[in-house]
Amino acid sequence: MIEVRNISKSFGEKQVLKNVSLVAEQGKTTLVIGASGSGKTVLMKCIVGLEEVNSGGIFYNERNFSEMNTKQRKGIRKEMGMLFQGAALFDSQSVEENVAFPLSMFTNMTEEEKTERVNFCLKKVNLENSNKLHPSELSGGMKKRVGIARAISLSPKYLFCDEPNSGLDPLTSHVIDDLIKEITQELNITTIVNTHDMNSVMNIGDKVIFIYKGEKWWEGNSATILHADNKEVLEFVGTAKMLKELRK
């Protein structure tokens, strides 16, 4: 479980996050939604510690991450996996080297054990027979899948995905969403996903947090969002035409 308590974050004069709190539960996907520029990425980077918060705290299973030193954080980092918006695969390494990288870094596995684990992870994301390809040879959807495979190679307890569907066609988006949902349930991970895609909200929104201009504006789930008693949420939802029809 991840608990975010009243965090705020500014860059210079500009306040990007204002007093945001949320709870993400184990085995569930918590979606953070909001328009572009609302602060989703900054929120995620604060949660994982890539940005320091100005105030408030972040708790990983009751352990206060914000107050830890580098060494203690490293312990928690090994329990995290993250899929970045552009997948952030290591350009100089092949698909299998990317997925094996955390294993080489943090385990004493033999080459055979690593290969086995890499193939297991790649199979989980339905990406077989691409082991030797380099990131430049992959499509957007394949990159995201390799990104997920790399994120889960060390069996993380916490998974973070920043806009997993951005730049993907609807069909591939759906596949990626399903993958995230499946992996979360099967491996019993605490997952937080940033998105501005209403399809994802409907597909995997166990819990939905709506961020508006750096504040938590609304909280609910995929069922309650269509009838939310909140102007900004309805505007956000309403822009998806299909859903407009649906609500009628």
Partner: protein, 251 residues
Amino acid sequence: MVTYVSNIFYHIGRYYSLIARAFSKPEKNYVFRKRIFEEIDNLGIGSLAIVLIMSVFMGAVITIQAAFGFTSPWIPPYAIGVATRDSMMLEFSPTLVSLILAGKVGSNIASEIGTMRVSEQIDALEIMGVNSSTHLILPKIIASVLINPFLIVISMFAGIIGGWGFGVLTHVVTPYGYLYGIQYDFRTYNVVYALIKAAVFAFIISSVPAYHGYYTKGGALEVGQSSTKAVVYSSLLILLFNFILTQLLLA
């Protein structure tokens, strides 16, 4: 002016803390060793050809120019050999070759690390719990400092041989006069001086561009800008330290 000065201190401070962080214990020794060999291959072996070509021609030009200048009968013929040897060893090989490498290697390092920054590959390392500075920058520094002195020695030989070859071909020196000249009053200390310069410059060539790449913000355009800045600042620093080291070691 005040902001300009405080800016310099800001960069020095941030550079220092980044490089200090790079010098921590690597996560896994065998991964780290592999990284060093990758960088030796990339930064050292990859620069061999350009160093050789440049040095041969520069040695040839120095020889021909010396012959052109030394017309007085009071200057012995072997002085051309001495001139080529000393210019190559003291200044051309360590400093000019390092300046060229600052352009080639420096832009390569800054753009590689800058691209990793803007495509979030550095964040990906950090989130795994890997010290990105140690993993990415330290192998480059080690590889450069190890390999640059070798490149410089190779450059010295290539320049002196180039001077001999072209000098003999163009009849400005006699084969034996030149060979006598390059051995005349040979000071081992000059080699030490050149190698110290080579090692210090190697540190600049690898760490300054790494710094510029590491703190790139934005996209492809900014990566290009970082790479340009990296070359300009590492070249300036080489010239500055050339002056300081020469004062310290020769004066």
